[in-house]
């Protein structure tokens, strides 16, 4: 599971009432990929620019710390958002740092989602799901 993915995830059980974010990371095994995903550097930067407004920055800072990366600045400035070198480094953090084994815990309900072989298990029992009216 990439840090990018973590930043998008939310516990959607009914009892979390839409507030199950950010999931707390307990890391057992972390993998840092050496090669960047198939994308030209220009595109990497463009991708980060595209994502910036959607990222929850405090959640990313916390998650990257939980994954052993203390270097992200606590506040995202306008300057950084236009700094190519910074965006390139951000791409690495979002895309190349993987949680291989560990646990994700909902901050509201404590519901746990295990991560094994890099894949988070977000399966829910029918009883846990949000109620829908037909």
């Amino acid at each position: 599971m990439r840090l990018l993915t973590h930043n998008t995830l939310r516990n959607n059980t009914a009892d979390a009432k839409g507030k199950g974010f950010p999931l707390k990371i307990t890391a057992t095994e972390i993998r840092v990929e050496e090669t960047a995903p198939t994308m030209e550097v220009d595109r990497q930067v463009a991708f980060c620019k595209n994502m910036l407004s959607r990222l929850d920055w405090p959640a990313l800072v916390q998650a990257s710390r939980d994954m052993g990366i203390p270097t992200l600045p606590p506040v995202l400035t306008d300057e950084m958002a236009h700094d190519t070198a910074f965006l390139q480094a951000l791409y690495k953090i979002l895309m190349q740092v993987h949680l291989e084994q560990g646990m994700l815990t909902c901050p509201v309900t404590g519901r746990e989602f295990p991560v094994t072989n890099g894949i988070p298990n977000m399966l829910l029992e029918e009883e846990e799901c949000e109620h829908v009216k037909l």
Partner: protein, 319 residues
């Protein structure tokens, strides 16, 4: 594969280890899924110059994701079958360990120096084990787009007493509406067993607020016929008014007469397709095909990697 695996029980039981490997290494399957996904991409109408974050629902072994990747996008795949995900995962890990590979399909429009030096590397995809019928577990307005290839029909079947297909469809679509960025589109190709299923699916999508409808390719061929549910947010456009005047999905019967049931802006793409006669399925891309395609792209002045012994080399599936 039986003709209707959905009737055999839970998807994760059908797509077990054996089936997952078989699926992922069948050249026929690879070719079919590629063609469908490329068509879905066409209907998505993403700006090719903006790398997007795309959700792939029912990603399976990653065949559909592969096409998103070739188009320079980042994707997140969800699937209910752990065995399919394992195959996808192993393929991705192998890919990141391989020497630079030849990529004929890459849409390299820029002719940057840098990009020549750039080694092709890891997958742009990530994976999650999840059942779409329980609702998508993401923050609102997260994805630029969503695709789903040959998976949605599974939601029409109940695998246990407490699974209600209508509820699961509704939960899926309302969560999809939430997690898509405003202005984003979703294209979901599916195999309805009956006309009623197609109606139920597209009606549920409009019920949660989506605009859009079903595009049917090759409507007169029982074998090649494909349904694409194309969803967007532009409910205020004139196209939408047009849409309100006719039912979202008409029955199969009517579709065959109409050739295409299209709504609003999906019309153009569908009409293009109409002119084409159903193609013979080619399966995997042959070396000749790739060399030809690369030559064509070079002619157009595109920056294409030279042909080498690695061109069209088969990637290993074993692990």
């Amino acid at each position: 594969m039986t003709s209707r695996p959905e009737l055999t029980g839970h998807a994760s039981l059908f797509y077990n280890q054996k089936e997952a490997r078989k699926y992922h290494s069948s050249s026929r399957m690879i070719g079919v899924q590629r063609e469908i996904t490329e068509r879905a991409m066409e209907l998505l109408r993403l700006d090719p110059n903006t790398p997007a974050l795309i959700l792939d629902v029912g990603c399976g072994s990653g065949l559909s994701g592969q096409i998103l990747e070739e188009n320079g996008h980042v994707w997140l795949g969800c699937d209910v079958s752990r065995d399919m995900l394992t195959v996808a995962n192993n393929t991705a890990k192998q890919q990141s360990q391989q020497p630079p590979k030849e990529e004929s399909m890459q849409q390299d429009d820029s002719d940057d120096e840098e990009e020549e030096e750039e080694e092709e590397g890891a997958s742009t995809g990530d994976l999650m084990h999840h059942d779409m019928g329980t609702g998508l577990p993401f923050r609102p307005a997260t994805f630029d787009a969503c695709i789903s290839i040959s998976a949605l029909q599974w939601l029409c079947y109940s695998n246990s007493k407490n699974q209600n297909p209508k509820k699961r469809l509704l939960r899926f679509f309302s969560s999809l509406y939430t997690v898509l960025k405003r202005g984003g589109r979703a294209v979901l190709q599916f195999y309805p067993e009956t006309a009623d299923q197609a109606v139920l699916i597209s009606e549920t999508a409009t019920k949660v607020g989506f605009a859009g409808g079903v595009v049917v390719d090759y409507p007169n061929s029982a074998k090649a016929k494909k349904h694409y549910l194309v969803l967007s947010f532009d409910r205020s456009s004139t196209q939408q008014q047009q849409q309100q005047q006719r039912p979202l999905t008409t029955g199969m019967h009517e579709q065959q007469q109409q050739q295409h049931v299209t709504v609003g802006s999906t019309m153009e793409g569908a009409n293009n397709k109409k002119k084409k006669a159903p193609k013979k399925k080619k399966g995997v891309k042959t070396k000749e095909w790739i060399v030809h395609k690369k030559a064509m792209q070079r002619k157009k002045g595109k920056d294409v990697r030279p042909d080498t012994k690695y061109t069209a080399r088969r990637r290993p599936h074993k692990f």
